[in-house]
Subunit: 300 residues, 2 copies
DNA sequence: TCCATTGATCAAAAATCCTGATCTAAACAA
DNA sequence: TTGTTTAGATCAGGATTTTTGATCAATGGA
């Protein structure tokens, strides 16, 4: 059995209009055309769908049941034409975005909410990555990246960058950790453990990592929330985005260390490729992102 | 845009097989046929689905997205052919069953579980009715009825009946109700309230109800569970299926009244029309119903 | 009873789809 | 570089399917 969409449309129209004639008028056909389609449908299905003993052809129970399923087919077909129309009107089929896990997630979450609307046909893929993993994911084909900030603050490699405010990282430790009461320049004197968020690039070899920490003791963590927990537990010291530890600094659970370099300001950027124009989904994402982002970075 | 199932099948096959040629072989066509179908699909959709700059045609992101939706259409189409095959092999499109609310529901619930299996295409409709409502619903077209028992115990009106064991109704009241301590023949002397389950036939006129209770005080309830609650609350006395009040009799919350007629045995019947043969769904229902029914009626 | 309406049937016309030959261009090996 | 292989596009003719308009039978209402 191999039903045609035409046959299913005829079945649906006849059931809705109540007669072959009315359905034929709706489909801009002649009644005999529908007669032909339905006859073949019944023949191929091996089922009798209409009861012709009375003048008006009425659906049999079998016909009604099959109609239910036929309407599911037609519904998906309509979904296909709608999708084609949307793609034609500028929506990307898929939008991939990378976010540096050090950035505040709240504005990103607000932006992805817009993709739940039914009129947005684009599939959204959002990856939260760390360190080199952010650019690695971007190079693999993501259309947008929210990065912590390039060295020097400006763009490089011919990428199009839009500044998104500023993000402060602070060197902190638990208030009951010995390092909290030590003075400047003490960091190199002791073998305190430095907490670091692990690079999320898959093929990244830990040996090739710039050995700025020398042979000090280090603890690698998967993300900043875990790192915060470890810091609060007194595992060691480390850099944290200010917005993630404002509460702990206020309660005094964490303290800002008094070191030569204990504060670093980054300038987060929205990065995209300059050659290819933004699709409607990318524009939607940016429109829902930028405005609140500035505000949230400032206050958090 | 009006895509054809052929076009969608071609799109799906090319994506699965990796090339026009392999897909053509799978569909028993010639490559140029698929070329023609896809060209028209792209033309009507106004989208480019394949990238032909390289030798092997590869799906564009747009093509991949549209393919996702196309596969949904084909999936529903397959569901349609499967449904047709099932209906052809003897499954009814719909099965309607009525159950008298006085009967134990457990065996019925076991029977309807079988209809959750995906290989059962039949839509099941089950109505729990009371009194005249049971036969009323059966006459409206239900294929099967589980009735409390006809007067005289046998079948009537040329219906096919199968006995399902026996069901005892007991005349009971709350143990702290005045009637509980009264002796036989007292029922007519006092104006105690009789609790009754209301007839569920929609057009049933309460005036035409056989006035066997004369002008006594009555309280109509929607079902036996509600009636049990009202009995436990001491609202009055009434008949209850034994299986529903076994627990309350055991704890002593309800007591079996000592009256001339305080016990009635019914013989529940599975009723169906003798002229039309049973479909597979009806057979499935009965097969899952009968065996446990006898056991449950006896023990409950 | 007649008459309007519904739908089936049929042959011819129209549209669609398939085929097989031919052509272009990319990938690949020498 | 050159020639070979392979994937797919294109095109005209043929096969198939669908549509049409006329005709016919049957039902239900006036």
């Amino acid at each position: 059995m191999d039903p045609t969409l035409l046959q299913l449309e005829a079945l649906d129209a006849i059931a809705r209009c109540g007669s072959f004639g009315a359905a034929a008028a709706e489909l801009n056909r002649v009644p005999s055309a529908l007669s032909y389609l339905i006859k073949n449908l019944e023949l191929e299905a091996g089922l009798s769908l209409f009861d012709r003993t009375h003048r008006r052809a009425t659906l049999t129970p079998t016909g009604r049941r099959l109609l239910e399923q036929a309407r599911l087919v037609l519904k998906e077909r309509d979904g296909l034409t709608a999708l084609a129309s949307e793609l034609r009107s500028g929506w990307e089929p898929e939008l991939r975005v990378v976010v540096d896990g050090a950035l505040p997630l709240a504005p990103v979450i607000r932006a992805i909410r817009a993709f739940a609307e039914p009129e947005v046909p684009t599939f959204l893929r959002l990856d939260v990555e760390y360190q080199e993993g952010v650019l690695h994911r971007f190079e693999q084909g993501a259309e947008l990246a929210l990065v912590l900030g390039f060295e020097g603050g400006g763009g490089e490699e011919g990428l199009h960058c839009t500044p998104l405010g500023e993000l402060v990282l602070l060197l902190v430790a638990a208030s009951d950790h010995p390092i909290a009461s030590s003075k400047r320049e003490d960091l190199d004197q002791h073998n305190h453990v430095e907490l670091l968020v692990r690079d999320s690039a898959p093929a990244f070899e830990v040996d090739r990592k710039p050995s700025f920490m020398g042979n000090r003791n280090v603890m690698f963590l998967s993300d900043f929330q875990t790192k915060k927990t470890a810091l609060l537990g007194g595992a060691g010291y480390g850099w944290m985005p200010a917005h993630l530890i404002a509460d702990s600094l206020a309660t005094g659970a964490l303290v800002h260390l008094e070191q030569e370099v204990n504060r670093w300001t980054y300038f987060p950027q929205l990065v995209r490729r300059p050659d290819q124009p933004l699709g409607r989904a990318a524009q939607l994402f940016i429109a829902n992102l930028c405005l609140p982002f500035e505000a949230l970075v400032a206050t958090e």
